[in-house]
Symmetry: C2
Subunit: 251 residues, 2 copies
């Protein structure tokens, strides 16, 4: 009987190929938005059949690392472009008579409150794997839907990975924040987990989101991971859910 019950002693070929492709992604051999080599090319490169490469790519596409486009090629997923926004943001406007039509997404704007080097509290440091005393960046920002502030984000990043990130630079970049991280810092967010709670607005949140202190808010605490499952961002969001809601699909 093995000491570890569920330790795979080997892995099938297509998983090994998937791992090799992931390593190339991590090493930026192919950058977000670019096409990777064709299945036949990869099959030749790794000396396996096209079918095996196909299954490896299927896995990576299922994990949203790659996107297949028939007739064109297979592309590295990106947060930039991404139809001007969204991928991890699950907040949607409540359906209402005067609301946006089906399929369309509501325009979104942002305002950065500050971005400063800051000592990370112990829980934050633990969450994003900062080794003792390593510096952190704290970013605070507001998101607006139709001119109304709806989200207040408090974001923590490793200062080492995002050297030179400033409020100015954040404001200048058009498009989603994770797009900036990709193109400017080579850090790609691949997956995230969120913990959601109901809380009450403190004085700061109330004033920034223009609601009464003590009003209920959705607290969304996100840890975002990059390729090797390494946590690189902790984000604490407060969502005003009077006219919007967090949408989730259960399979």
């Amino acid at each position: 009987m093995p000491a570890v019950p569920d330790a795979p002693l080997f892995s099938p070929l297509y998983r090994q190929i998937a791992a090799l492709i992931t390593r190339s992604l991590q090493a930026s051999e192919w950058k977000p938005g670019e096409a990777i080599p064709s299945e036949l090319d990869l099959a030749a490169r790794y000396k396996v059949s096209q079918g095996t490469v196909r299954k490896a790519i299927d896995d990576l596409a299922a994990g949203n690392l790659l996107v297949r486009r028939q007739g064109k090629g297979t592309y590295v997923s990106t947060h930039a472009e991404e139809q001007t926004q969204f991928r991890f943001l699950r907040l949607a406007p409540d359906s209402a008579p005067g609301a946006p039509k089906a399929g369309e997404r509501e325009p979104l704007s942002r305002r950065f409150l500050d971005c400063r080097r800051q000592r990370a509290p112990a829980d934050v440091a633990r969450a994003i794997g900062l080794r003792g005393g390593e510096a952190a960046l704290q970013v605070r920002r507001l998101l607006y839907f139709r001119g109304q502030a709806v989200v207040l984000d408090d974001i923590w990043l490793s200062a080492g990975l995002f050297k030179g990130l400033t409020s100015t630079r954040l404001s200048a970049y058009q498009g989603p924040m994770y797009g900036l991280f990709e193109t400017e810092f080579g850090v790609r967010m691949v997956r995230a987990t969120e913990q959601i709670r109901a809380v009450v607005a403190d004085a700061t949140a109330a004033s920034l989101l223009e609601l009464a202190p003590g009003a209920p808010l959705l607290s969304v605490e996100r840890v975002a991971y990059t390729y090797d499952d390494r946590p690189v961002e902790l984000r604490r969001g407060l969502y005003d859910t009077r006219t919007h809601h967090y949408r989730n699909e259960l399979g």
Copy 2:
């Protein structure tokens, strides 16, 4: 140029097979928890290759309609058994020193407050597709973790589909509610969507969940669908998130 941009004019063979299998599931030819015929049997039945059946099953397994088990067979998904609970419930205890070990799930108990025939409000009727004036059932219940009430659910069902459902019957059934629906009423929940908001406790909720009126609560509004994407349940849950949180994974 086609009038409808994304209308598939045909569907590949494996999708047609998947549709046929889904119809058999819907017709209860194979019941939840049971095994469906082997890939080779299905291939013979539909006069296609094993690979085509395999791809059809892959699709259905990805949608959680079926579960594959190597060496044994392919099984119809079920909410019964399901390691004594859970599948759609995303509430988890905050990790704490004295908390349950990794992998284990906290034991859960329930108490049904009532189950009565009730005229459904217009919005409820619309959500679960009740045709004008059709009768509805309203169920209210509490969920307890470690003896503490944490969830108050207000559930609406079509009375026609769940003829004979009573509080007694609900209490008598051990295991998840959707398991009862499956085995006793032949209604299988396949997927669901949830809208999450932060609200404040009214007097009723406060008293039942043992917290102060005005305390923040997570409002989770779920619409659950059966095979043909027909909505059959509307569930409004209020979650106390002082010691638990709603957990979500972003891909």
